[in-house]
Symmetry: C2
Subunit: 416 residues, 2 copies
């Protein structure tokens, strides 16, 4: 290997000369993933405008927490009961936002004070999901961080932070975490559910966006957080979130939420002042389409996995070939979800992103997986291989690997 | 006329013996109104998943303020520009709520303090829309009331209240007001736009839910509030709201919002932390269906009016026949919208609703058109004739008229 700086610079000039234009920045399904759900577009016609449970889908009433059939379906996804489930319009992030905004203005639970203390804090895991950070910042939360581990959030760190009464909870991804692909262990679920918290309003906001997004039969499924909280005597501690954004349509999916019946009664009372309910026809489209899909939701997710798995395998192959044994980086081999997380050994993530951009390869901005985009080690890169064709994934990964090598060599040259 | 109490009691017993079960409580379209839009259910298929402006409707990006085609369409409805328009998911009330919640947490405009003073107040018109009152109460606003007049909100009263720095604005329905059917005059639009306000955040929240819901060619259309505010040097003072709940589907419509470009930039920045955008496919269904409807939106609304006008005429005919010249009540003859407002001369609205309920006729609860359901005169009744078949409207109105007569006679007997 001729990994000396001038050789790498020559290789990089050759890369630039290719005039690439690749985007492996965001976790988006590919058009062939969306095509699996094209049947949903027209599956509800004039003969379907009264739901099986007797609700007129064109008119207002009957769906403040979603139509019964949708609550049943997505309760199955969250492994809870229909009357613990609320189905909204698109985007689980919007449901998270609505939940937090009501908590800030009125308190999440009956009789609870508004979450508007100064300061107010919400624990987040790092590396983590940039949109969580943006939302929490927008709502005025400070974000103490805890490391994401292969067993989920570092519970020693969480338990220590939970002793601060200005900490209102934790936001994290329990299954196939964004970006590391980690899933919380049963032991950590039990600890989260049972741990003492200084603030009685402490809430586990579990964004289970990738809960059913397995890449193979080697599945990671977390313990049931809602049941664990019940068992620990803290039945109202958790709010689960999920969506069909990466199941049916990212631009026209459904968000859903699971929590205790007491919390749900409170939330629907608050949300009931905002509207009569979400789009019922879109909910029934989902129900009718997903129930009729061969082998149901399970079958659809298996078809998604068939399309996505080769792209993740390509990432692993190229990174192994180009960076394996170099000691320049380590990366994840996720069993599900939408991302590969790569950490450079040197603090060169920003430089790698800049080099890649100059060569026509758009990566997620360095630091995006940390609050305020401040990655203290300047090392984490999020790779999103799901949308581009596999050839572009391979080309992009090779370019990324070269940029890691060049940035690392530059760093070593400068720092001896 | 044998309007003595015992005769009226006999008539009322005969009414009860009919065993009616009628609901003229809420402003809902009839199934034949919804049927006009059945074509929208399936009009967007796999060939339509890229919008004319080039946005992939299945994927995430491109629609934080709605897709371009929907913003153009609903800008026409609000008589403003597309880049002054945001199109969301269903329900304009939800958009009003989102707007107010961000205002409470962050301030509506760049650099504006959060609207969280204690007390905080929002002017409302009475009689008015019960869901406005419920939302404002839920968000902690006190609701000083001003009378709704045939020229819109009583501007002398509004101007006086606006001198209170804890007043953050006014919420009202500018066109075919709920429940009185009144439309704000050009003079009052100009006064609202130009009046001094103690609170620089003072905002006109104009819920223009019935803007295009004319019942005949005798149309009432308000002056353009956004342009009036611009002309008065207060370009950021107004937020317009509307929806297709009573245009296409109440359970699956679109809410939209119009405001200055500066306000819209701020709102989309805030909302951009909540989601990547609303359901783009539902937006394109609306655009494709409404653009293709014979004579467009205008044609659809004319078809709605054909179905609704006879019901409003029936209300007027029965009330005139039964109560005309009695001096027991006065009622509106709206040119659009969804309601007839009736005021009893005696303070008997609650008693009328109770009598009607006992006879199987469900009316909007007495007091609903006032904050906290407190109608100081106990006189206002909201009549919603749009959903029941015309025969039921006639039967219900006759029952209502009898209950007004009986309650009034009871009152006179008790109070001499």
């Amino acid at each position: 290997m001729t990994n000396d700086l001038s050789s790498l610079r020559n290789q990089y000039e050759e890369l630039k000369a290719l005039g690439l234009s690749l985007d492996i920045q965001r976790g988006q399904p590919a058009d062939e993933n969306f095509a699996l759900s094209h049947g949903m577009l027209t599956c509800v016609g004039p003969a379907d405008i009264v739901s099986p449970s007797g609700v007129g889908l064109c008119n207002y009433p009957g769906g403040l927490a979603g139509i019964a059939e949708a609550r049943e379906l997505f309760a199955e996804v969250l492994d809870i009961e229909a009357d613990e489930t609320l189905v909204g319009n698109n985007s689980s992030l919007k449901l998270l936002s609505d939940t937090l905004m009501w908590a800030l203005l009125r308190g999440l639970r009956e009789g609870e004070a508004p979450w508007n203390s100064e300061p107010r804090k919400m624990i987040v895991t790092v590396p983590g999901y940039d949109r969580h950070f943006t939302l929490l910042e927008s709502l005025g939360f400070e974000m103490p961080t805890v490391p994401m581990t292969t067993e989920g959030p570092d519970l020693d760190a969480v338990e220590a932070l939970a002793l601060d009464p200005s900490v209102y909870g934790i936001v994290f991804v329990p299954t196939y975490s964004n970006p590391t692909g980690d899933t919380i262990s049963a032991a950590n679920v039990a600890r989260l559910a049972a741990m003492p918290t200084a603030n009685p309003a402490f809430t586990i906001l579990a964004d289970d966006a990738y809960r059913i997004h397995h890449l193979s039969d080697d599945r990671h499924e977390p313990s049931n957080l809602l049941r664990a909280c019940e068992a620990a005597g803290n039945p109202d501690r958790v709010v689960l979130l999920g969506s069909t954004s990466k199941v049916t349509f990212a631009g026209a999916g459904l968000g859903f939420l699971g929590t205790s019946r007491a919390n749900l009664a409170r939330l629907t009372q608050l949300m009931g002042s905002e509207y009569i309910g979400p789009n019922k026809l879109e909910q029934y489209r989902h129900v009718k389409f997903l129930r009729a899909y061969p082998n149901g939701l399970e079958g659809l997710m298996a078809d998604h996995a068939k399309l996505l798995r080769p792209k993740f395998e390509a990432v692993g192959q190229v990174l192994n070939r180009e960076l394996g044994g170099t000691g320049l980086a380590r990366w994840t081999d996720p069993k599900g979800g939408y991302f590969v997380s790569l950490d450079t050994t040197r603090p060169v993530a920003k430089r790698v992103v800049a080099l890649a951009a100059e060569a026509g390869v758009t990566l997620t901005p360095a630091g995006a997986s940390y609050p305020h985009r401040l990655d203290p080690g300047d090392s984490n890169l999020r790779i999103a291989p799901t949308r581009p064709p596999i050839q572009e994934v391979e080309t992009g990964m090779a370019a990324l690997a070269l940029c890691v090598k060049l940035a690392s060599a530059e760093y070593d040259a400068e720092h001896g």
